[in-house]
Amino acid sequence: MGNTRKLWLVLAALLCVSFSVLLWSGAQIQRNAAPMPEQVVADGGRPVYSRADIERGRQVWQSMGGMQLGSIWGHGAYVAPDWSADWLHREAVAVLDRWAAAQGGAGYAALPPDAQSALQGRLQRMMRRNTYDAGTGTITLDADRAAAVAQVSRHYESLFGSDPATQGLREAYAMKNDTVPDAQHRRALAAFFWWTAWAATTERPLVEAAVPAGVAPPDQAVIRPRQVTYTNNWPAEPLVGNTPPPSTWVWSAFSVMFLIAGIALLGWHHAVTRDEDGHTVPQQDPLAALKVTPSMRSTAKYFWLVLALFLVQILLGAMTAHYQVEGQVAYGVALADVLPYSITRTWHTQLAVLWIATAWLGTGLYIAPAISGHEPRFQRLGVNFLFACLLVIVVGAFAGQWLAVMQRLGLDYNFWFGHQGWEYADIGRFWQIFLFVGLLLWLTLVGRSLWPVLRGPASESKAIVGLLFLSTVAIGVFYAAGLMWREHSHISIVEYWRWWLVHLWVEGFFEVFATAVIALIFTKLGLLRASTAAVAVLFATIVFMTGGVIGTLHHLYFVGSPTAVIALGASFSALEVVPLAYLGFEAYHTYRLGHATGWMQRYRWPIRFFLAVSFWNLVGAGLFGFLINPPLSLFYMQGLNLTPLHGHTALFGVYGMLGIALVLFCLRGLRPQEVWNEKLLRVSFWSLNIGLALMAVLTLLPLGTLQLLAAIEHGYWYARSAEFMQKPIVDLLVWMRVPGDTIFSVGALALAWFVLRLWVRPRAGRAAAAGEAGAPGVAVGR
């Protein structure tokens, strides 16, 4: 059996096992999720909330932007509080104050420490006790707690309206006045927030691990594990005894062990398979004579769109960041009345994915006919039609989101055409389906171009083309994960499928697509043997997928998952970091290929952006990713500024840089005669990298670290509170984003200007004269 065939079998087996485990975990999450009660009553049967209240509240929350304004269970935006943690703390303090007042005190804070401890113990017993009756679907609250719930509810009803009493908080949280204008909706919203806080503080029903009879004496027959809440004790809240459960400690330690073992194993593999397989590279650029077909030429507009979306994304990012300084205005302009924070952040995060995805879609459409040399009939029409569909989706989905956040769409249409409120899966269901159809069209267009190669005789490059095609199939088909939840699906189940989309789709299959495309590019350039490249890509795919598929679960530690999910998520996501530790090899290899021959100067800038991908993969995905990855770390860090530290450096650093590299590679072929303005590209490259590094080092890392200390010392709510976020040091750190962001923007503008000048008044002449003549062939090997 050939090496390639063996690897294919290993990959197939790995994917079967991994997806089985992932699906089993989904069933476990569904089984163990916090129950949705039919009714919530106070002692004596007085109704507090109904199921309809809570479900309607979730709809309201989704329509106002959901995770794009504050967060739930740590997932979402960072300026407004985590509503679950905030509610939990307010409710706990309200109960304690009532009890303190009943004892004749001025309030809980004024009591002596001993009395405080006594009340805190009483509070923990009350708040953590599970009063849900599965038979009747009823949660029963103590009278004091019901009174506290009413008190906190009034606060939220004030906050989400336009009550002057909470104006300061609205500004601190970057909320517009009348975020939810309808009083009934505000009350329902409070019901939903209460339920998420209830799940975060209520212990799961006891699961007893019985020991077989006769093994131990009767009084020791049952091992009673420490009780944890539905969210595995998240958020950290000392008042109600929410501390990290033992499983987070255990699996964090084990995850580090797995990481080191994985690094050792892969190191061994690198040592024994050092490839000395040198071969002679071509005298001239094999792609210089590439025939650009009409459909390939039509992809140019995709790359213009990429640049336009990138610039708009940066502008929206600046607005979103500015809201952290001035909650409702920008330099005196009442911006929140027109473009509130939740909409600028929604568009900012979505455009990040959209422009990167557009770059890759364009690359797929450009590269498929380039590989096969086959231009199917009506291919250009398909490329143009898909582009028009993408434009309609972006404009339509964004318009729906604006109408939703401005509360002009109504709850009945929100799920289908407005704002779903799930971060990175925010667009309405109609637009999701439209996008899914668009992706299938893309898959068809790429597939029919590659078909002659796929159907042709077995060749060494066929394996790599096959892998590229499989990744396009996976990208097209797996977007359907975003269609798996319904309007009223349980939030834990929505989270499960949402992370299929965000983690598996983006971090998994796009990763394979990117690896295959890069290898194909180097193969087509004659710098790599097809057989070597095929084995390398298959092996890399196996290594990525080993951790990547089950590693999806590391996003789900605290969304109502059982301990098994923590164990699997922690162990396998640690393995995701393993290949990143060896990116030095990858980077050096790419660097050597970039200098293998004189004509590679033509591809100097795509190669440099590929190198940047390796660097940020190590720093942004590897280091900053693992920083927040072990369950114990994430217990405190989830939703603090350490999360966007990983988000920005990994999403832009890896996928953004990769998108730019691919765009530049395609532009080299689309505009072969133009002399490239090296100075603009140099400015762009260094500004983007330095700007991103400054954003990370001057703001996100120090601010996230300060928040982390605050969360550990005082509880999670405090690290996200207005009280903490309004401290002068936080203000200063937020302002420190300006230098980095300015430099970053200069880089983006330089790139846009470079692309514009390729079409508008381009520099005439042959490109890269030095490389055109061709340098003597040089032997390259890994």
Partner: protein, 134 residues
């Protein structure tokens, strides 16, 4: 942030003076045919000062945004700033002849002086405010 307004304003003024001084020296060096104005360290220092200056300016503006809507002095200053940047770029090498670069250099310094005057007077007429302002 208003409690730090004086410190930020002092930083802004200090950085503006450093920026102007740096440009004056680099421009003079460039016109004299020296190479040091183009050293990477010098250029990076210049960028660092200018981005810090911009940061301080935006901080001041967010604290007291009313300046934008006062008598137009801030808009006048911003217009002169655009002219200063354009002339500065020309003076430091973009202009084709040495004479053109020298003229741009002098014009840029005059623009800087105008910015300084407008900032001090809080009036669009700047240095000339005592004569023209009503």
């Amino acid at each position: 942030m208003i409690e730090f307004y004086p410190q930020i304003k002092h930083a802004h003024i200090g950085l503006a003076l450093w920026s102007g001084l740096f440009f004056a020296l680099r421009g003079a060096g460039s016109l004299a045919g020296m190479r040091w104005p183009y050293w990477a360290g010098v250029r990076l220092a210049s960028y660092a000062i200018d981005t810090a200056l911009l940061t301080a300016a935006l901080m001041l503006l967010s604290i007291l945004p009313a300046a934008l809507y006062a008598n137009g002095w801030l808009w006048a200053k911003l217009a002169m700033l655009a002219a200063y940047i354009a002339l500065g770029v020309l003076a430091l090498g973009r202009a084709r002849t040495r004479g053109a670069r020298a003229a741009c250099y002098v014009a840029a310094l005059l623009a800087f002086a105008a910015i300084y005057g407008i900032a001090r007077a809080h009036h669009p007429w700047g240095w000339l405010a005592p004569y023209f302002a009503r």
